[in-house]
Symmetry: C2
Subunit: 295 residues, 2 copies
């Protein structure tokens, strides 16, 4: 596996792959890799001739007071994981390589970025779309793999790719969960034992509400209320948001006019445990032949 730190090195590698007629499979990450990331690498490996992973804790997607400084970094371990997953190249650039002082360009997606995490993390998605656009352009055409845990990020990146005509297929992969249901996240490492135990309320709440939908519940407000109450039943959970939205447009289904749940519905939550902010979601496609759950 090649480990590179410059844009021109990535270009050289992917340029050769393109010339050889290989599909470039790309997994953008912020490092501190876990089994969720591994599943993305496995998907890329099974579908692409040249598989690359980027490890870059992108400062532009962290706001003031957010956890940029404390975000876990573990490049040596990340390298070992990438090797074990048969990754061909690992791109771990310094900040100055991605964002020199002279940089002045931002990619902005409106609408989708103004809800959910966008409400409490202003500018976050501009940081995401700008760095992802750059990474895509550095890799050239190919397939990029994202986890469904970051459902809003996925929707925003898809919108950007479509709008800017980026020659990239965006592939979404299932959320990977711990045995007790907690969605894997690099941020889980920051939870105390007590917080870690308490955080299981998130998957329990999502599952229970999904069960209610499968059992016939179609009121978006009842669903949101149930989800909020379940999360709040955990004393140390600080609920940041609970939303029921259209999975593609991310428009709220709780706002007026309220209609019975139908189509592709996303339940999305953000909950703080101490200084750690966790997000999770589940989606359910409600069609004539009954709900189909993605969790």
């Amino acid at each position: 596996m090649k480990v590179v730190t410059t844009i021109s090195d990535v270009r050289a590698i992917t340029g050769l792959a393109h010339k050889a007629g290989e599909t470039v499979g790309f997994v953008p990450t912020m490092g501190a890799l876990h089994d969720g990331h591994r599943s993305l690498m496995k998907a890329a490996r099974s579908e692409c001739g040249s598989v690359g992973v980027s490890v870059f804790v992108n400062p532009t997607q962290f706001g003031p007071g957010e956890d940029f400084d404390t975000y876990p970094r573990a490049l040596a371990a990340d390298e070992a994981i990438c090797k074990a997953e048969n990754v061909d190249w690992l791109f771990a650039p310094p900040v100055s390589e991605m964002f020199p002082d002279s940089a002045r360009t931002t990619v902005h997606v409106s609408g989708l970025t103004e809800v959910l995490c966008g409400l409490t993390r202003p500018g976050h998605f501009d940081g995401v779309t700008t760095v992802v656009a750059k990474l895509f352009l550095i890799c050239g055409s190919g397939r990029a793999y994202f986890g469904r845990k970051d459902a809003q990020q996925l929707a925003v990146v898809r919108q950007m790719v479509k709008d800017l005509n980026l020659p990239i297929a965006v592939i979404d992969c299932p959320t990977v969960r711990e045995k007790d249901g907690l969605a894997m996240s690099s941020r889980n490492a920051g939870l105390s034992a007590n917080e870690r135990q308490a955080a299981t309320v998130i998957p329990r709440a999502l599952r229970q509400v999904l069960d209610q939908i499968v059992a016939g519940e179609r009121s978006p407000r009842a669903v949101a209320k149930m989800l909020t109450e379940m999360l709040a039943s955990e004393p140390i959970a600080q609920v940041e948001y609970v939303e029921v939205v259209d999975a593609d447009t991310l428009t709220s289904l709780i706002c007026e006019p309220v209609s019975p749940l139908t189509g592709n519905v996303l339940l999305a939550v953000a909950v703080r445990f101490g200084s750690v902010r966790l997000i999770d979601n589940a989606s359910v496609v409600i069609e004539n032949n009954g709900p189909e759950v993605v969790y």
Copy 2:
């Protein structure tokens, strides 16, 4: 010459060119082609295997009350010009192909876009960078040709290409002028005979000030004053701005602290004649061995 109206058709053409190892040369335009555009096509033709021109009057770069509706359109004549210049493909998409109602993504360059034309045309450069990024991504890697008349556009596009790692070489070509010095522009067609005559004050003023710089004038304020006074000497000229800026960063050289002119200096003006707004510029590189003028 192929005339196409869809993104997928352009992709097919440039994809084949790339596979054949040809360089794609691209001239983005808003149509109503004139000899300035022809010079860009000629440059592309001399350097590239596959030469394409886009004709798209981009609504997103016009503000409310600007001349989107009256901007000249002449697709049949444009087609003939492209054919005569041996262009391989002409891309003339409808607005819905470039900006479907679902589009929500904008590319923004800060700083460079807030001065000169950016002051009176808010949002204009977001429209430019977004459409140019899309066009570049539709064409894939290659060389893109721009005229120096739109000096700010050129600087902004260069910045975007660098910042987003777009695989495009931006080539700038000299401003092409009428015999009396007026810079060629599709908007010149909107001038009355009287306005057309009056508009020659722009190149005369620029030339005279350049002569003064060559003769030793180094005060940015004296240069700006002279340029303004010359333009104002034409009764029907309404001066929108006169600026003396660093040609790369577009930072004003008139603001405090004022230093003697040195380096790559751009004189830029915007002047209205009736309902027609014209821009023009000249640059001069002032180094130890004396000034070198680009007009």
